[in-house]
Each structure stands twice: as structure tokens, then as C-alpha cells.
């Protein structure tokens, strides 16, 4: 069995040990195997970035350890030369040109390979901009330069923390393709965090969901999303429909915004006729009913639920315009 690329054993981080200690990461265990694209998900403040920072030796673990390629980076920091990372947005020396920033990062990580840097600039679409000072770069350009910097030392493991931050839709699409290429074309292992769960669903093989410092679920995406069959029904009266069905089936509102008359029923496709019959018997209008495949976003919300660390958003007063 191959050595896991990442393996955490009871990894824990407590901030402020003396005054009001805060448990940011709580004894987490997970393994990332070679060649996997591993999604690491969680709401803001769940402990994702802290975990990554401990893996990269930027933060000291309060307990437990994170092994990278079977080695503890605290004892053998040079193992991290096999890792490329982009943590919480790309940051550079603003007074240096893009090219000089790559030189600094390359030399800080074992040596600068000029030919590879040129290839990477082409790869991330920054040829021509490398002579411009980074302070003049857009967020998207910085993010692209960050990707190039992360890949400079031809790493076996690429850690991408919110890689699509600040990117436009076409950039996000390119990034999705890029992550796939990293894993399937170039054989890299990718450890990815993102708020764009549809992106994670399309790119990752395996995910872990972390909330309040604990991993609440971990597994292959296919297995997690196919655990339960569901039907979605559009009905005349949601309350009447719920009352009619909840004796036999588990029923919930749709989690999709603006779909107020849609109901999710935990039932198989074969149950659809019985459900329709029951609704019609109870004088509930049925407009449609269809089996649905749960998305990672639905699954994430179901797992995190109201226990999320994010503050809840109050409903807007009637007549107010909703701004994103």
C-alpha cells in the first residue's frame, strides 16, 4: 500500500491557551492517497485554513500531527519542497515584478528554474505581464501568478485553498479544468478547499466536511451523494402536502432558493405513484414529481445544517430589493 500523501493523526489546534482558549481544530483524522483530488469543505471559521497551515508548518499543532509523504514537516521541513501551495489568496511583494516574485518564491523553495517559470507563465496565461509590478495586477492575475508560484518546484502535492477567489466565471471554469489536468494529466495529488461546492463536486474524488473544528463526514463523493434516493414534487399547498405525506415518508422543503412550492421526499422512484395517489386523495394539487440526484451543495447544507458557524441571514422585509 502506497504511503498516503497526507495523513493527519489527531491534529488539533487551540488558540489562546491562557485566556479564553478556542478549539479551532479538534483531533482530526484523514488520509489523502496519491493522485486523488481531495475536497476539504466547511463553512467560514470551520478550521480549514488552520488545518492547511498546520500541514505546511506555518502553525504549530497543539496536539497530534500531520504527515506529508509519511514525514512530519516539523522534523523534516524540506519534505514541503514537494508541496506547492496557494493559501487564502495569492500574496506577493507588491513592489516586485511578477517575474521577480517567481524568482523569490523559487529560490525560497530550493532553487529557481527559469525555463519552468516561463512554461508556467504560459500555462497560467500571464506571458507579457511578468514584467509588470504585482501591485498593478488584478486579483485574478495575482491568483494566476499564485498558481504558477505554487507549481514552480514541480510539486507532487498541490494545496489550493480557495483558488477561485476573485476570479470571473471564465477564470473559474479554466481553474476547474486546470485542477482536473493537474490530477489526471500530470498525476499530481490535489488538496482543495472552495466555497463553490459545484466546482468541488465536479473536480474532487473524495471530500471531508469540517465544522467547528471536527470532521463531520468523509468519503468518496459518489458514495456520499448516492446514500439516499429522493423525489422532488411541486405541489399546490406545501403544508397540506407535508401533512399528507409525513406519516409515511420523511419530507422537507427544497433547499433551492425561490422554489417555495417544492418538496423533497426521501423515497425511491418506485414510491412516486403512491405519493401522487396520497396527495390527490388529500386534495393536494400535484404539478410535477421526479427523482432528483442530490448535489454536494444540498448534502453540505444537510450535514452542516443549522449547526453552521456562519451567522444566519435574516429574511428581508417585504418589498425590499435583495442585493447579493
Amino acid at each position: 500500500m502506497a504511503t498516503p500523501v497526507i495523513e493527519t493523526e489527531g491534529l488539533t489546534k487551540i488558540f489562546g491557551r491562557l485566556r479564553s482558549p478556542k478549539l479551532a481544530v479538534d483531533h482530526i483524522h484523514f488520509r489523502v492517497e496519491p493522485g486523488q483530488v481531495y475536497g476539504f469543505l466547511g463553512p467560514n471559521g470551520a478550521g480549514k485554513s488552520t488545518t492547511i497551515r498546520m500541514m505546511l508548518n506555518l502553525m504549530h499543532a497543539s496536539d497530534g500531527k500531520a504527515l506529508i509523504f509519511g514525514e512530519d514537516p516539523r522534523k523534516k521541513p524540506e519534505i514541503l519542497f514537494r508541496v506547492g501551495s496557494l493559501v487564502e489568496g495569492a500574496t506577493f511583494y507588491p513592489y516586485l515584478r511578477g517575474w521577480d516574485n517567481l524568482k523569490v518564491v523559487g529560490n525560497s523553495r530550493g532553487g529557481f528554474d527559469e525555463a519552468r517559470a516561463k512554461q508556467l507563465l504560459q500555462f497560467v496565461g500571464l506571458v507579457g505581464s511578468e514584467r509588470v509590478r504585482v501591485k498593478a495586477y488584478s486579483t485574478g492575475m495575482k491568483q494566476r501568478l499564485g498558481i504558477a508560484a505554487a507549481l514552480l518546484n514541480n510539486p507532487d502535492l498541490v494545496i489550493l485553498d480557495e483558488p477561485t477567489n476573485g476570479m470571473d466565471p471564465s477564470g473559474i471554469r479554466e481553474m476547474r479544468q486546470f485542477i482536473r489536468d493537474l490530477a489526471y494529466k500530470y498525476g499530481k495529488t490535489v488538496f482543495l478547499t472552495s466555497h463553490l461546492l459545484s466546482e468541488v463536486q465536479q473536480t474532487s474524488d473524495r471530500v471531508a466536511i469540517i465544522n467547528k473544528g471536527k470532521i463531520v463526514v468523509e468519503g468518496l463523493i459518489e458514495e456520499l451523494l448516492n446514500q439516499e434516493e429522493q423525489l422532488e414534487a411541486e405541489v399546490g399547498s406545501l403544508e397540506q402536502a407535508k401533512t399528507a405525506l409525513q406519516e409515511r415518508w420523511q419530507v422537507a422543503h427544497s433547499t433551492v432558493p425561490n422554489e417555495h412550492n417544492k418538496l423533497r421526499i426521501k423515497a425511491s422512484r418506485n414510491d412516486a405513484p403512491s405519493i401522487v395517489r396520497r396527495l390527490v386523495e388529500q386534495n393536494v394539487d400535484v404539478f410535477s414529481i421526479a427523482p432528483i440526484r442530490q448535489s454536494l451543495e444540498d448534502y453540505f447544507l444537510e450535514v452542516i445544517g443549522d449547526d453552521s458557524a456562519q451567522p444566519s441571514i435574516s429574511p428581508l422585509p417585504t418589498g425590499a430589493n435583495r442585493h447579493a
Binding site: R53, L56, P94, A149
Partner: protein
Amino acid sequence: MLNLFRAEWKKTTGNRLLVGCTVWIFPAFGCAAVMLFSIILLASGEARQEFIADPPRWDDIGVGVWGIANFPISRLFLISFAATLFAGEYQYQTLKSVLPGNQRLQLIVTKFVTMTAFIVMAFIAMIVILVAGFGIVCLIFGADYPPSLTGSSVGEFLSDLLLNASITFASTLIFAGIAALVSILTRSILFGVMASVFLALLESLGLIFGLVIIAAITRIESVTDLYLLTPTYNSANILQWVNENAPSPPIVEGRGTLGLWESVAVLGFWVILMVGLSVFSFQRQDIQ
């Protein structure tokens, strides 16, 4: 380690505003001094006559340059340079890109080495500009430029230069260490500069008055002896021992002084303490 030094060099030379305003200002000051002096000599016949009658010594100019680093105003520039070198990484949040894979000790030592290299380069450039510049001025105005260049005069000059440079540098390193420590702890260039300048001024100007006042109020004269533990006193004391073979006079008549090696030990202790504390803090720190 060499690659880390290359990276550090690039970061530092790339920050032209910082290096220009805090390091290259010293050779620029040297150029300005030579030009100003030439203008005065051109404008005033009296000054010209005095200059020819009592020409400067090139060895005094060269050795005296290191004394400039001990002026409070010069320390301000050097402290700003050190603070920016250390706190800049926090301000630009770049440690997360350059730290993984490296030992923290190597990274911080590289920063101290780079800082040292820049300061040494700046002061050597200043020495060359001032010594050569005043040589040209002497040549133009027909003045002597003693002492004559012989093996012994050059040898003596180099040994004086090395000694003064070492003592000045130890003292600079102490305040650079304070700047580094405060910058690491507060992650702020401004705090690093302010705290170090405050301590530098307190140590070189305020402490002596404070101790004298405390001694007068408490009627315990030995309180003033605490001044013997400061970097400023000990660097001055070492120079006094070497040049005059006698200690620096005490701040209160009749109080004790320190011997040469005692001062060397105190100065060494401060260097190790300040650099050591900044290394220790950086080793233990969580990088956000």
C-alpha cells in the same frame, strides 16, 4: 541557504524606496558632504586658507564614518530598514509562500545576514566616497592629505577601521534585534520602528538622566551604575580602552567603570539576547 540569501537579496534590492531612503542615504550623505564642503571652499577664501593650513586626515575620515551609525538620527534609518525587512513579510503576508520547506532559523539568519550585508556595503561606499572625495578636494585646492600611504599607515587604518566597524556593528545589531523582535511580535513595521527608536533614544539620552534623578531622590548613588550595562556605554568604553587605554569616565564622579573585556562581554550579551529573542519568537510563532 544560498538560495534563501538570493531570495532575500532580491526582495531587498527590489524595495528601492526602502533601501534608497534607509541605506543608500548614507553614501548619498557622503556625496552631499563632499559637494557642500567644496562649495564652501570655493566661496570662502578664509575657509580655503584654513583648509590648506590644517588639512583633514584620510584615516580619520575613514574610521570616523562608523561613528555616524551611532548617532540617534542614523539609528532611526537603520532601525527602519531592519523593521521593514522583518515586518514586511507580515505586511505583505508572504511568509506562507516562502516559509514551507525551510527551517525558520535559516530564514531569520538570512534576514540578519542580508541586513548586515546592506549596512556594511552602504558604509563602505560612504567611506570610499568621503575618503576619495576629500582627496580630490585636497588635490584641487593644493592641500596635503596626510598620512602618506605606507604599509604601516594603511595597516593601522585597516585595524582601526575593523575595530570601529565591529563595535558600531554590535551596537547596531542590538537595535536591529529589538526592531526585529518588535516587528515579529506586532507584525507591524510602524510598531517595530517606533518601539526600537524609543528604546534607542531612551538608552542613549533618557536613561542617564533618569538614573541620576532616581539616585538623587533615593540617595542611592549605586543606581547610576546600571548605566554601565547599556550598549551605548559599553561601545564607547571599548573604544576608549582601545584608543586611550583607559575607561570612559563614569556619569557620576567617583562611581565605578568597566574593564575592556567586561564591556566586550556586556555588549556580546546584548547582541546574543536581542538576536536570540527574535529568533526564539519567530520559531514559536504561528503564521496567520
